[in-house]
């Protein structure tokens, strides 16, 4: 039973997060920063797109370096 739960958790992780967990963590941080900035009344729409481009570039750089 425990091994099945573990296998399902591993499947879910691989399904959503995939090859690079740092991208998932980066997206969570970007959304958190956006929420804090928007909550304080600052213009926050640009944070997620800028972070998405940066995270993708960093992930590709890591993959290209092998």
């Amino acid at each position: 039973m425990t091994s099945r739960v573990r296998a399902f958790a591993a499947f879910l992780w691989d399904f959503v997060v995939g090859d690079d967990w740092r991208t998932a963590v980066g997206v969570a941080v970007a959304l958190g920063v956006t929420a804090v900035a928007a909550g304080s009344g600052a213009t926050a729409w640009w944070i997620v797109p800028v972070c998405a481009v940066g995270l993708l570039a960093a992930s590709l750089w890591r993959a290209a370096r092998g």
């Binding site: 399904f15 959503v16 997060v17 995939g18 090859d19 690079d20 991208t23 998932a24 997206v27 969570a28 970007a30 959304l31 958190g32 956006t34 929420a35 900035a37 928007a38 909550g39 926050a44 729409w45 944070i47 997620v48 797109p49 998405a52 481009v53 995270l55 993708l56 570039a57 992930s59 590709l60 993959a63 290209a64 092998g66």
Partner: protein, 256 residues
């Protein structure tokens, strides 16, 4: 149909068509090599499981408050979209092998032949491989339908686009009776990665409390900007690859 609804329908259709092509290859390989009846029974069982998952998760997801839904689902969609786009960019730049349905079909057939004799009744190998293939590819379809549909408050449209894609691929498979290797799968995957990432950026930021200049019309800027960035990254990686080749350095191919 509004602009975001057209985007929703096209994105879901393309994503589902790609997943359906991959599932079709697996089913065709085990069906033609071992047992059609067992493979199709596996397909039916997987479709029932997918319907149960959709019926269970659909109302739960759509019942969430809009901002919670958008930040959670937008975030998931962005992570998922960046994953698709990363693979698509690596394929387009030559750092990862292109997905080849003909090669996947041959590999599945070889595995099916090597799996021992075919059982007289229900062939367990054919059933299991077809079931797993359709279930795994189908889960991606369910994820995309629910995230796109719930965020747009139009699960029906997303489900209809998915159903049309799956039916079109199934029909093409029946007619061709071969893997659909002519479908420009890698290009479609690139496009889907751009759309998933763009919608993930839009909904994630909005759910976190940001206000987009121009409201929904901001998507008309986000999608081409994401596409331009992705194409720029492909060009940069290709240039890097060419420089590496000129310098005599061997580049390790990223595994699929």
């Amino acid at each position: 149909m509004s602009g975001p609804e057209v985007g929703l329908a096209l994105s879901v259709f393309a994503a589902c068509a790609v997943e359906a092509v991959e599932a079709l290859t697996i089913v065709l390989a085990v069906g033609a090599t071992r047992s059609w009846r067992s493979a199709l029974t596996g397909v039916g069982a997987a479709l029932v499981v997918l319907a149960v998952i959709t019926a269970a998760l659909g109302p739960a997801v759509t019942a969430l408050p809009l901002n919670v839904l958008r930040v959670v689902v937008g975030g998931l969609l962005l992570v998922f979209g960046l994953q698709w786009l990363r693979k698509a960019i690596l394929r387009a730049s030559g750092l990862k092998a292109l997905h080849d349905e003909a090669a996947a079909f041959a590999s599945e057939q070889e595995a099916a032949r090597g799996a021992g004799g075919v059982s007289a009744g229900l062939d367990a190998y054919s059933f299991t491989v077809a079931f797993k293939g359709v279930l795994l590819e189908g889960l991606e379809v369910v994820f995309i339908v629910l995230t796109f549909g719930a965020n747009q408050h139009n699960v029906g449209l997303a489900a209809a686009a998915a159903a049309v894609a799956v039916l079109a691929v199934a029909l093409a498979g029946v007619v061709a009776h071969a893997p659909l290797s002519r479908v420009p799968e890698n290009t479609l995957k690139f496009g889907v990665g751009v759309m998933l990432t763009s919608f993930g950026i839009f909904w994630g930021a909005e759910g976190a409390g940001a206000h987009w200049p121009g409201g929904d019309a901001a998507l008309l800027a986000i999608i081409p900007a994401t596409l331009a960035c992705a194409l720029g990254m492909v060009a940069a990686l290709r240039r890097g690859g060419a420089r590496g080749a000129r310098g005599g350095g061997a580049r390790e191919t990223v595994r699929a």
